[in-house]
Structure formats: structure tokens, C-alpha cells
Amino acid sequence: MDNSLLASFGSIFTWAAPVVFAVMGETLTEKSGVINLSLNGSMILSAMAGFAVATTTGSFFWGFLAGAAVGALVAFIIAFMSIGLKQSQVAVGYVLTLATKSLAYFLGAPFVGKPVMQLSLVKIPFLDQLPILGPVIFNKDIVTYLSYLLVIVCYIWVFKTSKGLILQGIGEQPAAAFVRGANVNRLRYIYTIIGGALVGIGGAQYSLSVKTWNGQLTGIDGIGWIALAITIFGSWHPVRGALGSYFFVLLQWLGITLQPLMPNVNSRIFQVAPFPLMILALLFVNIGSADWVERTLAGLPEGGRKFVSRLIRGMRTHSPAALGTPFDNE
């Protein structure tokens, strides 16, 4: 690989940072049993807010904080409407998706064309000298580094701490967790809001590092839906979710890189292609739990069956059992 291609390949990790933030946020939220469906809108709104605040104050810190605040606020609305008022999470999330997206374009119109603000790259001493890995992974902006760290922290939090055990409990068996003393609804509020803040940081990262705010041409539209799909695809596991995010961005990168090789095909097709591919990937991870697959597998000859069923079971995902269902502690 020559250097320019390597540098371009390395951009995958910057591009993936918003997706990773959103997927980690949504994974935490959904682990607690709440679906925040609004990602596609709340990411656009926090991208706008992050850029607007950063250019106005001249400070990246306030920009990212604004992005996080917007994401947390939208998440709070979902938590309040679903936990407090027992409204459908899907309905509220869907409406917020559309409303926040429109709000971003409406309020963000004056900021289109403002000077670009991009986080500067920070080389990590020594590590950036590594062949290939150096320029690809260790020559990034600080929030991209945080996205690596976030995956590890989320993994440890969910699977290696007692708080994470409670988190899994309120998403799997809220009644049992309640009996053991967990304040299910309060924890759900907290995880929804924290998850939303992470989603918001992802949105701000998009307009402050990946690209800039450019109204409807920002190019962030659709990424929120992909993040939701990757959360499922990743089986609510932070590491698997991160791999899914990198896989999606790799597809995007391939689309852009391969496009010059096929000049007859319109470039916009390359841009949309990763989206259906990602969502159809859901088919492969979900199909194992369909009744007819079990039946067909049972009918297969002995030798092949073991292999096929192991393959399908391996891909199968397992959602938190109480996902999307309200909890009443009466």
C-alpha cells in the first residue's frame, strides 16, 4: 500500500468515531431495556448544535458539550414519555427522529458556509512510528482516540463490574432486579440519558472532525439508522458493535475508493450501497431464530446439520429480554 492510500484507509477510524459513539450509547440504553429510536434525528441535531456552538464560542470543548447536551435532552424526553407517561417508545422515538432532524435544518441554516472547524490531529509518541498501524490508528484527533477507549470502557462496565451486572438485570429481568434492590426506572433514566449524551458526542464529532455542518448536504443523514441496526447486529455487545461500525465504514470507504474503477455507475449508488447491505446483514443474524429455520435444520442430514446450525447459531443475536417493555414496580 502506498502512503496516500494508507492515509485514506486510516480515515476509516475517524469516520467510524461518530458511529462508534452512537452504537455504544445505544447499546447502553438498550441494555437497560429502553429503545432510543431517535438516533437519526438526534445525531443531526447534535451535529448542528456542536458546530454552531463551536464556531460561536471558538471552543471545541463547548461544541462537544452542546452536542452531548442535545443528545441527552432528546433521550430524556424519550425516557420521560415512556417510563413516566407509559407512551410507546417506538412512537415517541420515531416522531423525535423527524422533529429533531427538521429542527436541525431549520435552526442550522445560518451556519451553513461558516468557516470549517476541525479538530487537530494528535500523534501519539512512539506508537505513531509503528509501520502501517502508526498512520492508520495513532494519528487521529482526540475524540477518535476517545472512541477507542469508549469501546473498552463500555465492555468492562457492562460485563466486568457489578454495576454492569445490574444494568443487564434491569434489561433482562427487571422484576428480579427490582426485588434485589435495583431502582429499575431510575437506572433506566440514567442509562438512557448517558446513552443519549454519547450519541450527541458522536453527532458533534461528525460536524467537527469527519466533515463540517452543511445543512441537508452534511451527509450525516442515515447514519443514525445504521447505528441502530449495528446495535442489533452487534448483539448488544460493545466489542461486536464496534466491529460492526468499522465494517460499515469500511464498506463506505470501499464505495468511494472503488468508484473511479466503475465510471459508468453513478457515484450516488456507491454512497447508498452500504446502507441496504448493513440492514440486510440483520437478516443473517436474525434468521437463526425463525421457526422455519429450526425445522429445516432438523430435517438436514446428520453431517451437514451440525456445521450449518453451528454457523447460524454463532451469528444469532440475543436481545435484552425486556427491551421496549415498561416496568411497573407494583
Binding site: L37, I77, M81, G84, L85, K86, Q87, V90, A91, V92, Y94, V95, L96, L98, A99, T100, K101, S102, L103, Y105, F106, L107, A109, P110, G215, G222, W225, L228, A229, I232, V265, N266, R268, I269, V272, A273, F275, P276, I279, L280, L282, L283, N286, I287, S289, A290, W292
Partner: protein, 365 residues
Amino acid sequence: MVTKPAERPESTGGLIRTLLTNRFSSIVIAVLLSLAATWIVISVMGVEPVRVFSIMLNGSVGSVDAVTQLLQSWVPLVLASSGLLFTFTAGLWNIGMEGQIEMGAIFAYGAIHFLSGTPLSGPLVIIIATFSGMLGGALWAYLVGLLKNYGNVNEIFGGLGFNFIADAVLLFLVYGPWKPAGVAQGSTKMIESQYWLPQLPGSYLSLWALGAAIVGILIVAVVLKGTYFGLKLKAVGKNAKASFMMGIPTSRYMLLSFILCGLFAGLAGSIQVTGFLHVLRNSISGSYGYVGLMVGMLANYQPWVVVPISLVFTALSKGATGLGIDLRLDSNLSGVIQGLLVIFVLLMEGVRNRLSRGSKGISHG
């Protein structure tokens, strides 16, 4: 911890409680709250809200011209929203409506593309194109249903996936095989006028399209409210497991509701081609599918309510298009207002349920 608010003396608290628990007044409060929120959003942009509202009102119902345009864009929205009542009744979120409308438009345009120049008469081609469009929409919806039923893929993600694919197909056709001669402009060449739905002189409004919308909503109302099928579909939506135990083939009913919904989407798409735009172009579905979901939510399974709500939503969208010219405001304001309306209606409904649940709890205790 049982409090007894029912024994409090009648006071202003009692009045507020009555207002919040009454269905009608709670909707009025929701509308007022969303107006107030809109007021704030517009003020943030440094513009006088009254001016915005007057421009929007003028742009949507201020002239005969505006009203015919309003009705013309109302047709696809009412078709989309009423079709969605089938899937809503079956307890499904057909977010793939947008792609189904696109497929309807593609199939309708395709039929005309292949049949133009043949000896078939104009009206016959229009009829074939309309059915072809409905077939396209139904097919696209059926695929989402299949994914849901046999692949365990949630219809929200299956639908979104097929929306993206429909986008790609449309782009491929518009920039590829159906590209007009010369520079690609994101649109096919216009169909010949003999294949247009007849329009009122001097306007884009076709009475045929309007008629189709009215017949469409009638059909939905009759099927959902007046047939055994509608009743069973409702049972599936309320409790799929129990319905299955009662002997209703739930997966077949769900698939059927997808197909019915897709037929409506396809009809909306083909009318976009034959009755309004006369070309196939990028984003021909005009967000009618996405907005239709909000209308369907507000309609709360009542077909007749779709008529006024979709009219208001269309008026908001139409009215906002003038904001860019006069005030340099982004027309997405309409989406903000629509979203706020739905959110506050959901909020007030939640408050109402909570309050009445509270009082019910006391009467039981």
C-alpha cells in the same frame, strides 16, 4: 402510599384536572403547547412569529391557486396515511412506506415508458400504469413482510433497508437506462401529455386523483370498521399470540396488511407520476411516507380523522415553502411544527392516562 386527591375540595386544581382528563380539551392544550413551542423556535431565529404564520396561512389557503395545490399534495398524503392504518391496526410500523411509494412511481413510469408509442389508448395506458404502480408498492411492502415473518427482521429495519434500496434503484434508472438525452439532471424525460391524468384547467389538480384519495379512504374505513377481516386484523394487532391461539393465521394477516398498505403506497406513487410530476425523479416520494406515519399515529386507528389531520399537515408543508423566499427561513419549519404537534399530543395523552389511572386506582382500593 395511597393519596386521595379525589377528596380534595373542588378548586382550580380540580378544574385543571378536568381539563387534563377530558380528551377534547387535552388535545386543545396539546395544540396550544405546540404553537407556543413553535413561537419560541421562530423567535430564536430573530423573526416575528406572526409574520411566519401569516405567510404560511397565505401560502396554503390564501388563494384559489394555493388551495388547488394544497389539494393536489393532500392526495398522496391521505393515501399514504390511510394505507398505513392497515399496518397500524395489525400492530406494525411500516416505515418502508417511503420506498413503497418510490417503487409505485417507478413501476408506473416504467409501464408508460414501455407502452408509449404503442397503439394502446392514453386512458388505457394510465389504467395499466396505475395498476402497475400499485403492484410495485405492494411487492415492496410484501418483501418487508417476508423479512419480518421468515427472517425475524424487525419491520422498521427491513423497511428502512428497502427504502435505501428503492433509492438506489431510482437513482440507477434516472441516471442510467432512463436518462434523457443530454446532461443527466436527476430526472427522466417527461411522459407525453396523453398519459397525464386529466387536470383542472390552469392547475395541477386532477379530480381523478382527488377521487382516488376519497375512494381510498372509504375503502379503508369499510374494511377496517365494517368487515370481519378488519376485526380480526385488529385482534392480531392487539395481541398476536392470543389471536393465533384463537385460530387466526397471524402471519398471513400481517403479510396481507403489508400488501394492502403497499397497494395504497403504490397508488400514491403512480399518481405522483401520472397526475402531478409527469417524470420520474429523485425523491419522488416527497416524504409522504414518513409524514404519513405521524398522521396515522395521530389518527389513532380512526379512518375519518385522517382526512382533517392530513389536510393540516399538507397545509403546513405547503405554507412553509414560501418562507425561504420572503423571510430566508428554512422550509423545514413545517417538519418541526408537525413533530411538535405529535409529541405534545402523545404527552397530553400520557398525562390523561396517568391521571385517570390514578383515580381508577382509588376507586378500586
